[in-house]
């Protein structure tokens, strides 16, 4: 019984310390993004909350097992050179321990499935309803080997390019964006017979969704922070699904700007294309 008390006490104390450390870690980044980083969009924030919650769930489990390993190595160690004899107490079962283990593991798993998983998904699904995305900016995203092409039909931009002729993505902050993910773009000829899957990923936005040949998929994202690739390299469009030799280089710069700056940029682009 003594060992149980000592172990239990240690577990509680270290878990609390661990939770305190985890919380500090989560709040360490200046903007509260903690270890997750991808929080510059509405969807990313959902993922970050899930991540943080799961860190809290994981800490006591981690502490329990690791403490048990260390505890056993110290407390239950057979002394070196000692005669090998069987352990004096031979508990082969303990209904309370087994029962509560099974119950707790079921409850913890149900919990994390409901929250943050199902609750987070509910938010994600809600964020995908057109009704919740008034006046969206439509961006057609074309993925092909190996290039991202962004066009803005509302602004007559068929392919947005920066001064060096590279594809770039400009987005206004806090305005819903309707990304139309597709692998074929009427303005560029491309051999669809060798089309492959790509992953549309913006690390800073904390979300990715795949572009499947022959399918057009829509995802609504709202950028919530003013960022750009130059100032934060996680703010970039990166292909996340292996798509052949060009895969490592399939990226594009991203600029999240104010609505005003966006309008100015769009005008400029439109006159160019």
């Amino acid at each position: 019984m003594g060992s149980v008390l000592v172990f239990g006490l240690l577990w509680v104390v270290i878990s609390l310390l661990g939770e305190w450390g985890a919380t500090t870690w989560i709040n360490s980044a200046p903007d509260g993004t903690g270890p997750y980083f991808g929080t510059a969009s509405n969807l990313g924030v959902i993922g970050a909350h899930a991540f943080d919650f799961l860190v809290w769930v994981a800490v006591p489990i981690f502490v329990f097992v690791v403490l048990m390993i260390i505890f056993a190595m110290i407390k239950f160690r057979a002394k070196r050179g000692e005669k090998v004899i069987d352990a004096p107490k031979q508990t082969r079962n303990n209904k309370v321990f087994v029962g509560s283990w099974i119950l707790i593991s079921i409850l913890v798993n149900l919990l994390v499935w409901l929250h943050p998983n199902a609750s987070g998904l509910e938010q994600v699904f809600a964020a995908q309803l057109p009704a919740n995305n008034p006046n969206p900016l439509v961006v057609d995203v074309t993925a092909r080997q190996w290039e991202w092409i962004f066009s803005y039909p509302q602004y007559n931009i068929t392919q947005s390019l920066n001064a060096n002729g590279q594809d770039t993505l400009y987005l206004p902050v806090d305005r819903p964006v309707k990304f139309v993910l597709r692998s074929y773009d009427p303005f560029h000829t491309y051999d669809t017979a060798i089309d492959v899957i790509h992953g549309f990923w913006i690390p800073a936005f904390g979300v990715k969704y795949d572009v499947i040949p022959g399918e057009t998929r829509v995802i609504y994202i709202t950028a919530t922070k003013l960022i750009s690739t130059e100032q934060n390299p996680m703010a970039r469009v990166q292909c996340s699904e292996v798509c052949g030799p060009g895969h490592p280089y399939m990226e594009a710069n991203l600029h999240v700007v104010t609505g005003l700056a966006f309008a100015k940029w769009a005008k400029q682009q439109a006159s160019r294309s």
Partner: protein, 625 residues
Amino acid sequence: MAQPLPKGQMASMPKRIAPWPPVLRAFLWAGIGFVVLAAIAAWLDPSPNSPYLTAVGSVAGWFGALIGWLLGIGGYDYIVRPMMGYPTPRVRTSGWRRYYEYALDHKVIGLQYLGASTGTFLVAGLIAMAMRFQLMNYQPTLFHYPEDYLNAVGIHGTLMMFTVATVAMVGGLGNYFVPLMIGTRETMFPKASGISVWLVPIGVLTISMSPLLGQWSTGWRGYEPLAASDGSGLLYYYLGVFALTTSSLIVAINLTATILFKRTKGMTWNRLPLFAWGILTVSLLNIIWLPEIQATFILGMLDKVMPLNLFNVFGQPLGYEYLFWLFGHPEVYIVVIPALAIWNEILPVMGRKSLFARPIAVLGLVFVMLLSGMVWAHHMFTMMRFSEMLPFSFFTEMISIPTGFAYLAAIGTLWNSRLRITTPTLLVLMSMFNFLIGGLTGLFLADVPANLQLHNTFFVVGHFHYTIIGGMVFSWMAAMYYWLPKFSGRTYSEFWGKLGAIWVFIAFNATFLNFFILGLHGMNRWVSAYPKYLQPENFWTSIAAFFLGAGFGINIIHIVWAWIKGPKVKENPWDAKTLEWQTSSPPPAKNFDVLPEVVGSFYTYGDNVPDPVVIPSVQEQTPGL
């Protein structure tokens, strides 16, 4: 060493026929088989682009090589000729050469599998070192073209999965120990088993040589529709995996039948050793899922040579992905179940303590097996419909409950034990630590909103290396040290064993903890070059990885040294109760002079616990046994 037969008996056996070493003959026959069938294919189906070797020809030639190889290694002498009425030649039973020939003894076959796995582990490990070398710099250094690097990733992953992770503890340790542990002299289908192990080298060679046919960049999953337009080397990826999975399938059938039908007297299901339970559940998984992936790969291959338009852009590309993971997720349990079983095999022995909640430990293995077919699409959250996300995340999280039972039993056994901290104990505890991190990071990946960020980043790569290396490879090492006295009658040095264990433990965690951070920082998978801001982190990760590689090298050298030159040790150095320890070390050719009888549990310790095994006197046994 097994005793050679007495002189007189030897003379009465038919002489061995092989005029030269079977491996050399197998290579020659494989070459002939390849040329003949490739030529026929080129003649029937000529291609203007490649007059000598067409895509069809390279597939046909491969099957020719496969047949030539299997016949040359022993299929002709031991299977084909006897079928035609000739006497079966004797199988070599002593000397090192028997490991390079057709064998019937499950122990020789087990060591053949182990050797093949270890050799492949070194090759694929060196490839990993090359990959980590490349990633030290954000610009290409070693692999100048991304396809070189991607092909390396694909070969590393494919070899590690199909030759190491699924083979070392099943084809290797399973073949060697299951018959010993359940008290039988041979497996159910020794002839098939003797052939099946030789599918491993040809599978490994096929995959390693595949870039010669045309580089491929899909990685080990062979995702469509990229595969459809990717290099022809993929044909040899499909075929190599086909050979390796066939080998594992034969192991599974053989060991399942052995466990079902060849248990010694008194070996009830309630007494069956945990490791045998592990091998049984894994084998059932293999029997269910390996044919599925084989069929998928054959279709993928036909799609590529014909094409059938099944999985390319004109067909259903995602269909392949679903079919792949339908097998692919059970595969990870195929990898880890033997490891979980080994923990609870070693801990009671080292702790001198009864296995805690044994039925739960067994049920855990069985339930993991049952659930593992219901979670596959959690690898595809970024591809699927929203409506599929909830059920797949549900089953994924639920499977951690039976997985946790292995911890439940291990922890209950550790409690109040008298734990001998030997190298195997240390490695089991380390494996528990590592697999815990693998499992807990799985919690994050199973959360769909977070998955949409973490998927296909180094976070995932860290997660599965924690489960596979942390869970399986560490347990494999624990088992090797634990059973070393059994293999060779010799033992290792506790100092070097512990040093090696601590070395790989630190280096492993230093390497792969960084993978999580890298992933969170936006490092994606399958990249030979990456944005510059990730370089410092990658640099240190690679340094740690080189230490890890060296650590594995130290352990392998130490084990080999101990095996050959280590100090001699008594028959049952751990005072273990399971049957493999109730015979001499190394075990004689037929395992037991007299088949032991089981009368109690192997996992019950304590005062006044009677011996679970009795050795009947010779007369008592029925002569046929």
